[in-house]
């Protein structure tokens, strides 16, 4: 013990000392202690809450705090890997800091320990600053820093040197012991990180919880879909989108992991009787099952962010009515476990449409990426105003009082779905033989329904497409058009008319701020 304290100076500043040996000691003590701390923190986070990983939390804070030019630089430099680059940057900084810690610890163990504690404080602050943080989330940092401190003491002790006669060349007291200790620490760091990664991937809290969920059969099942909803033409989107193919648009850095046993949904704001429900409380109210088409406001004309699923959930309107909505309220703000806010017009929820707190998607509990355990769903509204995922609270308020996340960023507060149509086949730049070619696709106008679809070849007359069955106005509708194709390059266009008689405008509008408009076209070559 005493031998470390008597060491006069940090090895690096000592003239005549072989630099590599000193550097190895500093490196081993600092980086390996930090490595063990991070590895253990990662493992404990995987068991408790993967989002409570201190490195991830620090990265999240860095994103929030970074000025716009820095973010722009990161994205310009690293493209879609900007988050990975950020995490690598955090690790690189940690590695540098760890080396300094190593130097400090070799000089005075106390300094190394205090340094580690300082890092733990930063980690705790970052973890607790997340909107969904719970006290238990400090466990990974605490477990990590305590293990890291223990590792540091062991390493410092193993790195004891003795001063030898001559021009000051301290030597390791026991090379073999130091080597074994360093190797053991490195192994511990790697193993805990590896196990943490494996645990985090395979049995994260949410995945385990989802696997244990058993949903009751719906009390109000969806009517069976008529076979005629599908045209049977190859290349047209499946009428019901499989969960794995359903589009995903959200801002979650990591997919939130929710345990239904601790999950609660609260309803408050301007209501007479605020309430909270457990997952089982909600299920006990009985499930309504409906086939509903959902789409994203950021979808371009002809884009892929639209899909249809068989959803099951709790009817939302009765929940709100039971709570007693006070006069003058017009917005329901839903909040996700990671802090996303979405604002929905109360009128849309209460007008008789199937607004749901959905718990099932195509016969299984909501996939994690689609909002497990509960998401909102309001037919006829773009997702960003009606389909909050990983739902945790509902608040009755007014549009004047609160701007939800996307509205703060300039998107429209009220955004009913615009009528749209898409050519699914032939694909852009397809080459076909002259003769009959089946042109087919989908059209949607949730709440109003599709009344007609027309197809135009080049600048020819608009021709009626054949519509497949449309059992509900909240569902998209497939269509086909048999085209007698002649050789050459051709442009095909499609436009839909909703069931109220309004035809899609040909005016091109970008998705911002309330959804794209324009007729979808595709260019094909006939040989």
């Amino acid at each position: 013990m005493a031998s470390t304290d008597v060491e006069p100076r940090p090895a690096t500043s000592r003239p005549g000392l072989p630099r590599s040996s000193a550097a190895v000691r500093v490196f081993a003590v600092g980086v390996l202690s930090a490595g063990v701390a991070l590895g253990v923190a990662h493992l404990v986070a995987a068991l408790v809450d993967p989002a409570a990983d201190p490195v991830l939390a620090v990265g999240g804070v860095a994103i929030d705090l970074a000025p716009q030019p820095v973010k722009a630089f990161a994205i310009r430099t690293f493209g879609v890997n900007d988050k990975i680059a950020l995490l690598c940057g955090v690790y690189a900084l940690l590695a540098v800091a760890a080396v300094l810690l190593g130097a400090a610890a070799l000089r005075r163990r106390r300094h190394g320990l205090v340094g580690l504690a300082g890092f733990a404080a930063v980690g705790v602050a970052a973890v607790l600053s997340r909107p969904a943080a719970t006290p238990v989330d400090v466990l990974p940092v605490l477990a990590g820093v305590l293990t890291g401190m223990a590792a540091m003491l062991v390493l410092v002790s193993a790195a004891r040197t003795v001063a030898v006669a001559g021009p000051g060349r301290p030597r390791l007291l026991n090379r073999r012991q130091f080597l074994a200790t360093a190797a053991g620490t490195a192994l511990t760091a790697s193993a805990t990180a590896a196990i943490g990664q494996a645990v985090g991937h395979r049995s994260a809290v949410g995945a385990r919880s989802r696997a244990a969920v058993r949903l009751p059969p719906p009390t109000r099942p969806a009517p069976p879909l008529p076979g005629g909803v599908s045209t049977g033409v190859q290349g047209v989107s499946a009428f019901v989108t499989p969960n794995r193919d359903f589009y995903r648009v959200d801002t979650a850095l990591t997919v939130p992991q929710v345990d239904v046993r601790t999950w609660r949904l609260t309803l408050d704001g301007a209501v007479d009787r605020p309430r909270a429900w457990t997952f089982d409380d909600l299920l006990a109210r009985g499930l309504v099952e409906r086939d509903i088409t959902l789409n994203c406001v950021s979808n371009e004309v002809g884009g892929p962010y639209v899909g249809t699923a068989r959803w099951a959930g709790v009817a939302l309107a009765p929940l709100l009515r039971e709570a007693g909505i006070r006069a003058g309220q017009n917005q329901l703000v839903s909040r996700s476990v990671e802090g996303m806010t979405i604002g929905t017009p109360l009128e849309a929820i209460l007008d008789g449409r199937d607004a749901l707190l959905a718990v099932a998607m195509n016969g299984e509990p909501l996939p994690l990426e689609h909002g497990f355990p509960v998401r909102m769903l309001v037919p006829g509204l773009y997702g960003y105003v009606g389909a909050c995922k990983w739902l945790t609270s509902l608040r009755v308020t007014t549009f004047d009082e609160f701007d939800p996340y996307w509205v703060q960023r300039g998107w429209a507060a009220d955004a009913p779905v615009k009528t749209a149509s898409r050519i699914d086949t032939p694909k852009p730049f397809a080459q076909r033989r002259a003769g009959p070619v089946m042109v087919a696709g989908v059209a949607w106008a949730q709440r109003r329904g599709i009344g007609a679809v027309e197809v135009q070849v080049d600048d020819g007359p608009w021709r009626q497409a054949r519509l497949a069955d449309g059992p509900s106005p909240d569902l998209w509708r497939q269509w086909t058009y048999r085209w007698d194709a002649t050789s050459g390059s051709h442009t095909l266009r499609v436009r839909a008319t909703d069931a109220t008689g309004d035809t899609q405008t040909d005016r091109r509008a970008a998705p911002f701020p309330d959804g794209a408009t324009g007729w979808h076209s595709t260019t094909v070559t006939i040989t």
Partner: protein, 211 residues
């Protein structure tokens, strides 16, 4: 040496397992962006790994850097290629031509392609009378524009070589590193720009199909 190796291996392992490897990260969804944005994990699984490297080239400096600008690399990476180009002031002549030829939706909907995007300066090299003639001839315009689109997604590593275009003819890329030339004359001034469905190489001359 051995000890240093141990330590390095340990640290590298920790880093790699914690996501810096980047190969199995599912969490590339964007936070705090200017638009509801698409997670890379779904459903465009045809996205090529070429999206992983950054842009290069002197011409990149002319691209807007403010991420909220639709012409910035950040904004371009999130939207399909024709939409991405329309946000970029360097490419406004190209965008006019693409609209004129009714190719916006087709380019946006084409999966996994590479686009050689001539700058406004590239179009300005064509004598005005010739350019006007091309812009007035939809069939010719379509031919020229589709000649700028390679049917596969090319990373800088796979860029050199002869590639089939949507027009039917081939383009040949020579060079290496960060210096590439298309058909012997058109220089890549800003390469490997990601969009939601295509990789873009901005070039300084318009490419002309042989037939």
């Amino acid at each position: 040496m051995k000890r240093r190796l141990f330590a390095t291996v340990g640290v590298v392992t920790v880093l790699a397992l914690s996501g810096c490897g980047g190969t199995d990260s599912e969490d590339t969804a964007s936070g705090g962006s200017a638009a509801p944005s698409m997670s890379a994990s779904a459903p465009m699984t045809s996205m090529s790994p070429s999206m992983t490297s950054g842009q290069f080239g002197s011409g990149c400096a002319a691209v807007p850097t403010d991420a909220s600008n639709p012409g910035s690399f950040e904004a371009m990476a999130k939207v399909p290629v024709a939409t991405a180009a329309s946000g970029n002031p360097l490419l406004s002549t190209l965008v006019t031509a693409v609209k004129k030829a009714n190719l916006v939706d087709s380019l946006n909907g084409a999966q996994g392609v590479t686009v050689f995007a001539p700058t406004n300066d590239a179009f300005a090299k064509i004598p005005k009378a010739d350019l006007d003639k091309v812009l007035a001839d939809d069939a010719m315009l379509k031919k020229i524009l589709t000649y700028h689109v390679v049917t596969t997604q090319l990373s800088p590593d796979t860029l050199v070589g002869t590639h089939k275009t949507l027009q039917g003819g081939d383009v040949t890329v020579t060079g290496g590193g960060t210096e590439f030339t298309v058909n012997g004359a058109s220089m890549v001034v800003c390469g490997n720009v990601s969009t939601a469905n295509a990789t873009v190489y901005i070039v300084d001359s318009v490419l002309m199909p042989k037939s």
